[in-house]
Symmetry: C2
Subunit: 189 residues, 2 copies
DNA sequence: AGATGTGAAGCGGTTCACAGCT
DNA sequence: AGCTGTGAACCGCTTCACATCT
């Protein structure tokens, strides 16, 4: 399969595909293209591939519940290993086949499941505390969905997913399209 | 308030704050700082601020349901105006205070609510069709949560939020940390 | 003194364009 | 002839550093 075909399927530029694959030492054959099986093994090796990374979800509100039954996680090698919530009335409940554990159980949960990744799906005001707990329990990779600035120690990898911001960006572009381009005209003027 | 204070609160660099604000013509006073009220009005003006952008959510699975009761949307000026699903058994049901409408109702729904933004929260295989319907109904800004490549006409603004990819990135960094840095050592070697 | 506003440099990533291999 | 591999240009954004203003 050629880099052009791969690029079309992924919706990106062909040169980009070639450059990225060459970084991975997933080489193709000139005049021919790439061997797909080879790509699969090489890419999954680089991505950590074989061993799954179990994840812990902090907060089982609407978003936490949605995430706990999100198929894409399992498929991507990130099975949901545990659910944790601060609300004692939901602790012990069964959600998506898993019993919700108390925050004080977190450390034990991490150890017994070998979890490596934490997802913060709490309200904004509880996000920092949730992240602190995850870090204290030994988690070093955190995905934060709460719309809050969370600070973590340097060795912890934190990624932010802000749903409202995504919409804000769309709204901004739209505003720009309809309006007579207020910013650039002001900058230009 | 100084650019340093603002930057700390937002978790970004101070020079960046100053540069961005100067683009918006939200100027401060040298030696003093920025007038916060002025910043609020100026920023909300640029962001489209005053008039809300109602959104339509396509697909009321777990994720769609979570999104339909996500407070951040309303707070950010993106009230959920309608829910749509292809499954006739959920059409007519009430979710988060809204009645789920059929796909064929989409165009009417967009008109009657004045919606401008669409969210695709369907399974991957239905994402392209959902996007097509939104475009046909006049929506020009789409936020896609389905893990699928979706193509839209040039005038439509499409943003992709791929939850599994976010985890993949975390997992990759983690893999790199623990491992003896396979890629770079191979590149170097 | 203290903070802004902004050229200039730096950086990661993308795209072009074409030499080089099969 | 076709497709890869990659130097070079490009792009948007971030950060530095400092002249400038109150």
């Amino acid at each position: 399969m050629s880099s052009v075909e791969l690029a079309d399927l992924a919706g990106v530029n062909a040169a980009n595909v070639r450059k990225d694959l060459s970084y991975l030492h997933a080489h193709g054959t000139r005049g021919v293209g790439y061997d797909v099986d080879h790509l699969i093994t090489e890419i999954s090796l680089v991505l950590g591939g074989d061993e799954p990374n179990p994840v812990i979800i902090m907060g089982v509100g609407n978003l936490g519940r949605a995430l706990s039954s999100y198929d894409g996680f399992v498929a991507g090698g990130f099975p949901v290993a545990g659910l944790v919530d601060a609300d004692p009335t939901v602790v012990g409940r069964r959600i998506a086949g898993k019993v919700v554990r108390a925050v004080d159980d977190l450390e034990a949960l991490v150890t017994e499941t070998g979890s490596t990744v934490g997802i913060v799906a709490t309200p904004a005001h509880a996000a920092q505390e949730a992240a602190n707990r995850l870090v204290a329990a030994g988690i070093r990779s955190i995905l934060n969905f709460a719309p809050a600035v969370v600070v973590v120690p340097g060795q912890v990898d934190l990624r932010q997913v802000d749903l409202a911001t995504e919409l804000q960006i769309l709204g901004y572009h739209q505003h720009r399209r309809s309006d007579a381009d207020p910013i650039m005209s002001r900058v230009a003027g």
